[in-house]
Symmetry: C2
Subunit: 251 residues, 2 copies
Amino acid sequence: MSAAPTACLLIIGDEILSGRTQDANLKFIGGRMAEMGIRLQEARVIPDVPDAIVEAINTCRARYTYIFTTGGIGPTHDDITTTCVAKAFGRNVVRDPEAVKTLMAYYGERANDARLKMTEVPDGPDVELINNRVTAAPGYRIENVYVLAGIPNIAQAMFEAVAPTLQGGDPVHSSHVDAFVRESEIAAELSAIQLRYPQVSIGSYPSLRDDKFCTSVVARSTDQGAISAVLNEVADAMRLKGAEPTRPPLG
Amino acid sequence: MSAAPTACLLIIGDEILSGRTQDANLKFIGGRMAEMGIRLQEARVIPDVPDAIVEAINTCRARYTYIFTTGGIGPTHDDITTTCVAKAFGRNVVRDPEAVKTLMAYYGERANDARLKMTEVPDGPDVELINNRVTAAPGYRIENVYVLAGIPNIAQAMFEAVAPTLQGGDPVHSSHVDAFVRESEIAAELSAIQLRYPQVSIGSYPSLRDDKFCTSVVARSTDQGAISAVLNEVADAMRLKGAEPTRPPLG
Protein backbone atom coordinates (compact mmCIF):
# COMPACT_ATOMS: atom_id res chain seq x y z
CA MET A 1 0.00 0.00 0.00
CA SER A 2 1.45 3.36 -0.98
CA ALA A 3 1.32 6.29 1.40
CA ALA A 4 -2.04 8.04 1.45
CA PRO A 5 -2.28 11.33 -0.45
CA THR A 6 -2.29 14.44 1.72
CA ALA A 7 -4.04 17.78 1.50
CA CYS A 8 -4.12 21.26 2.93
CA LEU A 9 -6.94 23.81 2.87
CA LEU A 10 -6.18 27.52 2.59
CA ILE A 11 -9.15 29.61 3.67
CA ILE A 12 -8.57 33.10 2.31
CA GLY A 13 -10.44 36.07 3.72
CA ASP A 14 -10.35 38.87 6.27
CA GLU A 15 -14.00 38.19 7.04
CA ILE A 16 -13.15 34.81 8.57
CA LEU A 17 -10.29 36.16 10.71
CA SER A 18 -12.33 39.15 11.90
CA GLY A 19 -15.05 36.88 13.23
CA ARG A 20 -17.65 38.33 10.85
CA THR A 21 -18.19 35.08 8.96
CA GLN A 22 -18.23 31.53 10.27
CA ASP A 23 -16.22 29.31 7.94
CA ALA A 24 -18.15 26.28 6.71
CA ASN A 25 -15.78 24.96 4.07
CA LEU A 26 -13.33 23.20 6.38
CA LYS A 27 -16.00 20.95 7.85
CA PHE A 28 -17.26 19.98 4.40
CA ILE A 29 -13.88 19.44 2.75
CA GLY A 30 -12.49 17.70 5.85
CA GLY A 31 -15.36 15.24 5.81
CA ARG A 32 -15.06 14.56 2.09
CA MET A 33 -11.27 14.10 2.36
CA ALA A 34 -11.77 11.47 5.08
CA GLU A 35 -14.28 9.60 2.90
CA MET A 36 -11.86 9.66 0.00
CA GLY A 37 -8.88 8.50 2.02
CA ILE A 38 -6.99 11.75 1.56
CA ARG A 39 -5.32 13.01 4.74
CA LEU A 40 -6.23 16.64 5.38
CA GLN A 41 -3.16 17.53 7.43
CA GLU A 42 -3.61 21.23 7.85
CA ALA A 43 -5.91 24.17 7.26
CA ARG A 44 -4.77 27.77 7.33
CA VAL A 45 -6.95 30.83 7.52
CA ILE A 46 -5.10 33.76 5.96
CA PRO A 47 -5.98 37.41 5.40
CA ASP A 48 -6.47 39.33 2.15
CA VAL A 49 -2.78 40.23 2.14
CA PRO A 50 -0.88 39.32 -1.05
CA ASP A 51 2.42 38.35 0.58
CA ALA A 52 0.67 36.12 3.11
CA ILE A 53 -1.33 34.36 0.40
CA VAL A 54 1.67 33.83 -1.89
CA GLU A 55 3.78 32.48 0.96
CA ALA A 56 1.08 30.09 2.17
CA ILE A 57 0.49 28.74 -1.34
CA ASN A 58 4.18 28.15 -2.00
CA THR A 59 4.87 26.62 1.41
CA CYS A 60 1.91 24.28 1.26
CA ARG A 61 2.00 23.21 -2.38
CA ALA A 62 5.54 21.91 -1.85
CA ARG A 63 4.45 19.96 1.22
CA TYR A 64 1.11 18.30 0.39
CA THR A 65 -0.34 16.29 -2.48
CA TYR A 66 -3.31 18.64 -2.91
CA ILE A 67 -3.96 22.26 -1.95
CA PHE A 68 -7.47 23.66 -1.95
CA THR A 69 -8.08 27.36 -1.60
CA THR A 70 -11.46 28.91 -0.82
CA GLY A 71 -12.40 32.55 -1.25
CA GLY A 72 -11.29 35.61 -3.15
CA ILE A 73 -12.27 34.77 -6.74
CA GLY A 74 -15.26 37.08 -7.11
CA PRO A 75 -15.65 40.29 -9.13
CA THR A 76 -14.59 42.94 -6.61
CA HIS A 77 -11.34 44.70 -5.67
CA ASP A 78 -10.89 42.55 -2.54
CA ASP A 79 -10.86 39.33 -4.62
CA ILE A 80 -7.11 38.89 -4.99
CA THR A 81 -6.64 35.11 -4.91
CA THR A 82 -5.92 34.67 -8.62
CA THR A 83 -3.36 37.48 -8.68
CA CYS A 84 -1.61 35.79 -5.75
CA VAL A 85 -1.78 32.27 -7.19
CA ALA A 86 -0.29 33.55 -10.44
CA LYS A 87 2.48 35.30 -8.53
CA ALA A 88 3.20 32.16 -6.52
CA PHE A 89 3.71 30.28 -9.80
CA GLY A 90 5.58 33.15 -11.48
CA ARG A 91 2.92 33.54 -14.17
CA ASN A 92 0.78 36.29 -15.63
CA VAL A 93 -2.98 36.59 -15.19
CA VAL A 94 -5.07 36.14 -18.34
CA ARG A 95 -8.76 35.84 -19.21
CA ASP A 96 -9.55 32.22 -20.05
CA PRO A 97 -11.30 32.09 -23.47
CA GLU A 98 -13.62 29.25 -22.49
CA ALA A 99 -14.60 31.01 -19.28
CA VAL A 100 -15.22 34.24 -21.21
CA LYS A 101 -17.48 32.39 -23.62
CA THR A 102 -19.51 30.83 -20.79
CA LEU A 103 -19.79 34.14 -18.97
CA MET A 104 -20.83 36.06 -22.12
CA ALA A 105 -23.48 33.45 -22.84
CA TYR A 106 -24.84 33.92 -19.32
CA TYR A 107 -24.62 37.71 -18.95
CA GLY A 108 -24.82 38.91 -22.57
CA GLU A 109 -24.57 42.69 -22.66
CA ARG A 110 -24.34 42.83 -18.87
CA ALA A 111 -20.87 41.22 -18.94
CA ASN A 112 -18.95 44.16 -17.51
CA ASP A 113 -15.28 44.31 -16.49
CA ALA A 114 -16.05 43.18 -12.94
CA ARG A 115 -17.82 40.07 -14.19
CA LEU A 116 -15.05 39.36 -16.67
CA LYS A 117 -12.58 39.49 -13.77
CA MET A 118 -14.13 36.14 -12.82
CA THR A 119 -12.71 34.61 -16.01
CA GLU A 120 -9.15 35.36 -14.95
CA VAL A 121 -6.70 32.52 -14.36
CA PRO A 122 -2.92 32.16 -14.27
CA ASP A 123 -1.49 31.82 -17.77
CA GLY A 124 -0.46 28.41 -19.06
CA PRO A 125 -1.80 25.45 -21.07
CA ASP A 126 -1.91 23.27 -17.95
CA VAL A 127 -4.52 25.38 -16.15
CA GLU A 128 -7.91 23.62 -16.10
CA LEU A 129 -11.22 25.29 -15.36
CA ILE A 130 -13.46 23.90 -12.66
CA ASN A 131 -16.94 24.46 -13.98
CA ASN A 132 -19.82 23.93 -11.62
CA ARG A 133 -23.56 23.63 -11.60
CA VAL A 134 -24.21 26.74 -9.47
CA THR A 135 -22.50 29.67 -11.22
CA ALA A 136 -21.20 30.73 -14.63
CA ALA A 137 -17.89 31.67 -12.97
CA PRO A 138 -15.42 28.78 -12.73
CA GLY A 139 -12.73 27.79 -10.28
CA TYR A 140 -9.55 26.30 -11.70
CA ARG A 141 -6.68 23.92 -11.10
CA ILE A 142 -3.03 24.79 -11.57
CA GLU A 143 -0.69 21.88 -10.87
CA ASN A 144 -1.72 20.59 -7.42
CA VAL A 145 -3.56 23.77 -6.39
CA TYR A 146 -7.37 23.80 -6.66
CA VAL A 147 -8.84 27.30 -6.48
CA LEU A 148 -12.45 27.28 -5.28
CA ALA A 149 -15.03 29.93 -4.41
CA GLY A 150 -15.66 30.92 -0.81
CA ILE A 151 -19.45 30.75 -0.75
CA PRO A 152 -20.12 27.28 0.68
CA ASN A 153 -22.62 25.94 -1.85
CA ILE A 154 -20.40 27.08 -4.75
CA ALA A 155 -17.25 25.73 -3.06
CA GLN A 156 -19.00 22.41 -2.60
CA ALA A 157 -20.16 22.27 -6.22
CA MET A 158 -16.63 23.02 -7.41
CA PHE A 159 -15.19 20.42 -5.06
CA GLU A 160 -17.59 17.75 -6.32
CA ALA A 161 -16.69 18.65 -9.90
CA VAL A 162 -13.04 17.75 -9.27
CA ALA A 163 -13.53 14.99 -6.69
CA PRO A 164 -13.62 12.17 -9.31
CA THR A 165 -10.20 13.30 -10.60
CA LEU A 166 -8.47 13.16 -7.21
CA GLN A 167 -6.32 10.21 -6.28
CA GLY A 168 -7.81 8.80 -3.09
CA GLY A 169 -6.43 6.36 -0.59
CA ASP A 170 -7.91 3.73 1.66
CA PRO A 171 -10.99 5.42 3.13
CA VAL A 172 -10.77 6.33 6.77
CA HIS A 173 -13.81 4.93 8.53
CA SER A 174 -15.12 6.46 11.69
CA SER A 175 -17.57 5.33 14.30
CA HIS A 176 -18.26 6.28 17.89
CA VAL A 177 -19.83 5.24 21.14
CA ASP A 178 -21.26 7.73 23.64
CA ALA A 179 -22.21 7.50 27.29
CA PHE A 180 -23.05 9.71 30.23
CA VAL A 181 -19.65 9.34 31.85
CA ARG A 182 -16.84 11.81 32.42
CA GLU A 183 -13.92 11.17 30.11
CA SER A 184 -11.53 11.31 33.06
CA GLU A 185 -13.26 8.21 34.51
CA ILE A 186 -12.39 6.10 31.48
CA ALA A 187 -9.12 7.81 30.53
CA ALA A 188 -6.86 5.00 31.83
CA GLU A 189 -8.88 2.38 29.92
CA LEU A 190 -8.77 4.47 26.74
CA SER A 191 -4.99 4.77 27.00
CA ALA A 192 -4.65 1.01 27.37
CA ILE A 193 -6.98 0.35 24.43
CA GLN A 194 -5.10 2.87 22.26
CA LEU A 195 -1.82 1.08 23.01
CA ARG A 196 -3.29 -2.25 21.89
CA TYR A 197 -4.72 -0.81 18.66
CA PRO A 198 -2.07 1.46 17.14
CA GLN A 199 -3.82 1.28 13.76
CA VAL A 200 -6.85 3.08 15.20
CA SER A 201 -6.92 6.74 16.15
CA ILE A 202 -9.06 7.03 19.28
CA GLY A 203 -10.43 10.45 20.18
CA SER A 204 -12.31 11.34 23.34
CA TYR A 205 -14.69 14.32 23.21
CA PRO A 206 -16.46 15.55 26.32
CA SER A 207 -19.67 17.56 26.27
CA LEU A 208 -22.65 18.49 28.41
CA ARG A 209 -26.05 17.09 27.48
CA ASP A 210 -29.09 17.84 29.60
CA ASP A 211 -26.60 19.25 32.15
CA LYS A 212 -24.91 15.85 32.45
CA PHE A 213 -21.34 15.08 31.46
CA CYS A 214 -21.17 12.99 28.31
CA THR A 215 -18.21 11.50 26.48
CA SER A 216 -18.13 10.56 22.84
CA VAL A 217 -15.31 8.20 21.94
CA VAL A 218 -14.53 8.24 18.23
CA ALA A 219 -12.47 5.53 16.55
CA ARG A 220 -10.99 6.30 13.12
CA SER A 221 -9.11 3.81 10.98
CA THR A 222 -8.90 2.26 7.55
CA ASP A 223 -9.56 -1.06 9.33
CA GLN A 224 -13.26 -1.43 10.12
CA GLY A 225 -12.73 -4.63 12.11
CA ALA A 226 -10.31 -2.85 14.40
CA ILE A 227 -12.81 0.00 14.87
CA SER A 228 -15.44 -2.52 15.98
CA ALA A 229 -13.05 -4.18 18.38
CA VAL A 230 -12.01 -0.85 19.88
CA LEU A 231 -15.57 0.37 20.35
CA ASN A 232 -16.60 -2.90 21.97
CA GLU A 233 -13.82 -2.49 24.50
CA VAL A 234 -14.70 1.17 25.06
CA ALA A 235 -18.35 0.24 25.62
CA ASP A 236 -17.25 -2.36 28.19
CA ALA A 237 -15.14 0.27 29.97
CA MET A 238 -18.14 2.61 30.06
CA ARG A 239 -20.39 -0.10 31.51
CA LEU A 240 -17.81 -0.84 34.21
CA LYS A 241 -18.31 2.77 35.34
CA GLY A 242 -22.06 2.22 35.48
CA ALA A 243 -22.77 4.12 32.26
CA GLU A 244 -24.80 2.58 29.46
CA PRO A 245 -23.41 3.30 25.98
CA THR A 246 -26.01 5.16 23.95
CA ARG A 247 -25.31 3.16 20.80
CA PRO A 248 -24.94 -0.58 20.59
CA PRO A 249 -21.32 -1.45 19.86
CA LEU A 250 -20.58 -2.56 16.32
CA GLY A 251 -19.81 -6.03 15.10
CA MET B 1 1.24 55.37 17.08
CA SER B 2 3.13 52.10 17.49
CA ALA B 3 2.35 49.14 15.26
CA ALA B 4 -0.68 47.18 16.37
CA PRO B 5 -0.01 43.92 18.22
CA THR B 6 -0.58 40.79 16.17
CA ALA B 7 -1.91 37.34 16.95
CA CYS B 8 -2.24 33.83 15.61
CA LEU B 9 -4.68 31.11 16.64
CA LEU B 10 -3.62 27.45 16.58
CA ILE B 11 -6.64 25.17 16.59
CA ILE B 12 -5.39 21.74 17.62
CA GLY B 13 -7.42 18.62 16.93
CA ASP B 14 -8.05 15.81 14.49
CA GLU B 15 -11.78 16.25 15.05
CA ILE B 16 -11.74 19.67 13.36
CA LEU B 17 -9.74 18.48 10.33
CA SER B 18 -11.86 15.34 9.90
CA GLY B 19 -15.04 17.39 9.65
CA ARG B 20 -16.50 15.80 12.76
CA THR B 21 -16.57 19.03 14.76
CA GLN B 22 -17.31 22.55 13.60
CA ASP B 23 -14.75 24.92 15.10
CA ALA B 24 -16.34 27.83 16.96
CA ASN B 25 -13.27 29.35 18.62
CA LEU B 26 -11.93 31.24 15.61
CA LYS B 27 -15.10 33.28 15.20
CA PHE B 28 -15.12 34.21 18.88
CA ILE B 29 -11.43 35.00 19.25
CA GLY B 30 -11.32 36.79 15.89
CA GLY B 31 -14.17 39.04 16.95
CA ARG B 32 -12.60 39.80 20.34
CA MET B 33 -9.21 40.51 18.74
CA ALA B 34 -10.81 43.06 16.41
CA GLU B 35 -12.52 44.77 19.35
CA MET B 36 -9.23 44.92 21.23
CA GLY B 37 -7.24 46.25 18.29
CA ILE B 38 -5.08 43.15 18.02
CA ARG B 39 -4.57 41.98 14.45
CA LEU B 40 -5.39 38.27 14.11
CA GLN B 41 -3.20 37.59 11.10
CA GLU B 42 -3.49 33.84 10.82
CA ALA B 43 -5.24 30.77 12.15
CA ARG B 44 -3.97 27.25 11.64
CA VAL B 45 -5.86 24.05 12.20
CA ILE B 46 -3.39 21.27 12.97
CA PRO B 47 -3.77 17.58 13.75
CA ASP B 48 -2.95 15.67 16.95
CA VAL B 49 0.56 15.03 15.64
CA PRO B 50 3.40 16.10 17.95
CA ASP B 51 5.85 17.27 15.28
CA ALA B 52 3.17 19.34 13.56
CA ILE B 53 2.13 21.00 16.83
CA VAL B 54 5.71 21.75 17.92
CA GLU B 55 6.58 23.21 14.53
CA ALA B 56 3.48 25.39 14.38
CA ILE B 57 4.08 26.75 17.88
CA ASN B 58 7.71 27.59 17.21
CA THR B 59 7.04 29.12 13.80
CA CYS B 60 4.18 31.27 15.01
CA ARG B 61 5.48 32.38 18.40
CA ALA B 62 8.50 33.92 16.66
CA ARG B 63 6.27 35.73 14.20
CA TYR B 64 3.33 37.18 16.16
CA THR B 65 2.84 39.12 19.40
CA TYR B 66 0.39 36.60 20.80
CA ILE B 67 -0.30 32.93 20.11
CA PHE B 68 -3.48 31.28 21.33
CA THR B 69 -3.93 27.54 21.17
CA THR B 70 -7.25 25.76 21.61
CA GLY B 71 -7.75 22.07 22.30
CA GLY B 72 -5.82 19.11 23.63
CA ILE B 73 -5.52 19.94 27.35
CA GLY B 74 -8.04 17.43 28.71
CA PRO B 75 -7.46 14.24 30.70
CA THR B 76 -7.20 11.62 27.95
CA HIS B 77 -4.37 10.10 25.90
CA ASP B 78 -5.21 12.23 22.85
CA ASP B 79 -4.66 15.45 24.80
CA ILE B 80 -1.05 16.17 23.85
CA THR B 81 -0.90 19.95 23.64
CA THR B 82 1.06 20.49 26.88
CA THR B 83 3.65 17.86 25.99
CA CYS B 84 4.14 19.62 22.66
CA VAL B 85 4.25 23.15 24.10
CA ALA B 86 6.88 22.02 26.61
CA LYS B 87 8.89 20.42 23.81
CA ALA B 88 8.65 23.59 21.72
CA PHE B 89 10.16 25.53 24.63
CA GLY B 90 12.70 22.82 25.50
CA ARG B 91 11.20 22.28 28.94
CA ASN B 92 9.90 19.39 31.03
CA VAL B 93 6.26 18.84 31.94
CA VAL B 94 5.38 19.17 35.64
CA ARG B 95 2.23 19.25 37.74
CA ASP B 96 1.55 22.81 38.87
CA PRO B 97 1.11 22.85 42.68
CA GLU B 98 -1.60 25.52 42.64
CA ALA B 99 -3.52 23.66 39.94
CA VAL B 100 -3.22 20.41 41.91
CA LYS B 101 -4.61 22.14 45.00
CA THR B 102 -7.59 23.52 43.08
CA LEU B 103 -8.26 20.18 41.44
CA MET B 104 -8.00 18.24 44.71
CA ALA B 105 -10.40 20.67 46.36
CA TYR B 106 -12.87 20.06 43.53
CA TYR B 107 -12.55 16.30 43.06
CA GLY B 108 -11.36 15.13 46.49
CA GLU B 109 -10.85 11.37 46.46
CA ARG B 110 -11.97 11.21 42.83
CA ALA B 111 -8.81 13.05 41.69
CA ASN B 112 -7.32 10.23 39.66
CA ASP B 113 -4.27 10.32 37.40
CA ALA B 114 -6.31 11.36 34.38
CA ARG B 115 -7.72 14.36 36.20
CA LEU B 116 -4.29 15.27 37.57
CA LYS B 117 -3.03 15.30 33.98
CA MET B 118 -5.03 18.51 33.67
CA THR B 119 -2.67 20.17 36.18
CA GLU B 120 0.32 19.65 33.92
CA VAL B 121 2.20 22.64 32.53
CA PRO B 122 5.68 23.25 31.12
CA ASP B 123 8.24 23.73 33.89
CA GLY B 124 9.44 27.21 34.78
CA PRO B 125 8.71 30.10 37.15
CA ASP B 126 7.35 32.24 34.33
CA VAL B 127 4.41 29.95 33.54
CA GLU B 128 1.11 31.46 34.71
CA LEU B 129 -2.13 29.56 35.17
CA ILE B 130 -5.28 30.77 33.44
CA ASN B 131 -8.02 29.98 35.91
CA ASN B 132 -11.57 30.32 34.72
CA ARG B 133 -15.10 30.34 36.02
CA VAL B 134 -16.26 27.16 34.24
CA THR B 135 -13.84 24.37 35.23
CA ALA B 136 -11.35 23.47 37.93
CA ALA B 137 -8.78 22.73 35.22
CA PRO B 138 -6.75 25.76 34.13
CA GLY B 139 -5.18 26.90 30.91
CA TYR B 140 -1.81 28.61 31.12
CA ARG B 141 0.49 31.19 29.59
CA ILE B 142 4.13 30.57 28.74
CA GLU B 143 5.87 33.63 27.29
CA ASN B 144 3.60 34.81 24.45
CA VAL B 145 1.73 31.49 24.09
CA TYR B 146 -1.72 31.20 25.70
CA VAL B 147 -2.92 27.62 26.00
CA LEU B 148 -6.73 27.37 26.14
CA ALA B 149 -9.24 24.53 26.22
CA GLY B 150 -11.04 23.44 23.06
CA ILE B 151 -14.62 23.39 24.34
CA PRO B 152 -15.96 26.78 23.29
CA ASN B 153 -17.51 27.97 26.56
CA ILE B 154 -14.34 27.04 28.46
CA ALA B 155 -12.08 28.57 25.81
CA GLN B 156 -14.12 31.76 26.02
CA ALA B 157 -13.94 31.86 29.82
CA MET B 158 -10.16 31.37 29.68
CA PHE B 159 -9.82 34.04 27.01
CA GLU B 160 -11.79 36.55 29.07
CA ALA B 161 -9.63 35.75 32.08
CA VAL B 162 -6.50 36.89 30.22
CA ALA B 163 -8.06 39.59 28.02
CA PRO B 164 -7.39 42.41 30.52
CA THR B 165 -3.68 41.53 30.52
CA LEU B 166 -3.28 41.75 26.72
CA GLN B 167 -1.79 44.83 25.13
CA GLY B 168 -4.41 46.07 22.69
CA GLY B 169 -4.15 48.58 19.89
CA ASP B 170 -6.51 51.07 18.33
CA PRO B 171 -9.78 49.15 18.04
CA VAL B 172 -10.81 48.21 14.53
CA HIS B 173 -14.36 49.39 13.97
CA SER B 174 -16.59 47.73 11.45
CA SER B 175 -19.87 48.67 9.87
CA HIS B 176 -21.73 47.63 6.77
CA VAL B 177 -24.40 48.52 4.28
CA ASP B 178 -26.45 45.91 2.44
CA ALA B 179 -28.64 46.02 -0.65
CA PHE B 180 -30.32 43.73 -3.13
CA VAL B 181 -27.74 44.30 -5.84
CA ARG B 182 -25.15 42.02 -7.41
CA GLU B 183 -21.66 42.90 -6.26
CA SER B 184 -20.46 42.87 -9.86
CA GLU B 185 -22.78 45.82 -10.56
CA ILE B 186 -21.05 48.03 -8.01
CA ALA B 187 -17.54 46.57 -8.30
CA ALA B 188 -16.10 49.49 -10.29
CA GLU B 189 -17.47 51.99 -7.76
CA LEU B 190 -16.11 49.96 -4.84
CA SER B 191 -12.64 49.91 -6.42
CA ALA B 192 -12.72 53.68 -6.84
CA ILE B 193 -13.89 54.22 -3.25
CA GLN B 194 -11.21 51.86 -1.93
CA LEU B 195 -8.53 53.86 -3.77
CA ARG B 196 -9.75 57.09 -2.17
CA TYR B 197 -9.82 55.60 1.35
CA PRO B 198 -6.67 53.52 1.81
CA GLN B 199 -7.10 53.63 5.60
CA VAL B 200 -10.33 51.61 5.30
CA SER B 201 -10.49 47.93 4.41
CA ILE B 202 -13.57 47.47 2.23
CA GLY B 203 -14.92 43.96 1.81
CA SER B 204 -17.74 42.91 -0.48
CA TYR B 205 -19.72 39.79 0.44
CA PRO B 206 -22.38 38.41 -1.85
CA SER B 207 -25.22 36.17 -0.72
CA LEU B 208 -28.68 35.00 -1.68
CA ARG B 209 -31.65 36.17 0.38
CA ASP B 210 -35.17 35.18 -0.56
CA ASP B 211 -33.65 33.92 -3.83
CA LYS B 212 -32.41 37.43 -4.65
CA PHE B 213 -28.78 38.47 -4.96
CA CYS B 214 -27.66 40.60 -2.05
CA THR B 215 -24.35 42.31 -1.35
CA SER B 216 -23.06 43.30 2.05
CA VAL B 217 -20.26 45.84 1.92
CA VAL B 218 -18.22 45.92 5.10
CA ALA B 219 -15.88 48.78 5.99
CA ARG B 220 -13.24 48.15 8.66
CA SER B 221 -10.90 50.77 10.04
CA THR B 222 -9.59 52.38 13.19
CA ASP B 223 -11.08 55.63 11.79
CA GLN B 224 -14.85 55.77 12.37
CA GLY B 225 -15.25 58.96 10.35
CA ALA B 226 -13.68 57.30 7.33
CA ILE B 227 -15.99 54.30 7.74
CA SER B 228 -19.02 56.62 7.65
CA ALA B 229 -17.74 58.41 4.58
CA VAL B 230 -17.06 55.13 2.78
CA LEU B 231 -20.47 53.67 3.57
CA ASN B 232 -22.24 56.86 2.46
CA GLU B 233 -20.50 56.58 -0.89
CA VAL B 234 -21.27 52.88 -1.14
CA ALA B 235 -24.93 53.55 -0.38
CA ASP B 236 -25.00 56.18 -3.13
CA ALA B 237 -23.49 53.67 -5.58
CA MET B 238 -26.15 51.14 -4.63
CA ARG B 239 -28.94 53.67 -5.17
CA LEU B 240 -27.55 54.55 -8.59
CA LYS B 241 -28.16 50.90 -9.51
CA GLY B 242 -31.75 51.18 -8.32
CA ALA B 243 -31.15 49.28 -5.08
CA GLU B 244 -32.15 50.74 -1.74
CA PRO B 245 -29.59 50.16 1.04
CA THR B 246 -31.18 48.16 3.83
CA ARG B 247 -29.56 50.27 6.55
CA PRO B 248 -29.37 54.01 6.64
CA PRO B 249 -25.81 55.11 6.03
CA LEU B 250 -23.92 56.30 9.07
CA GLY B 251 -23.01 59.85 9.99
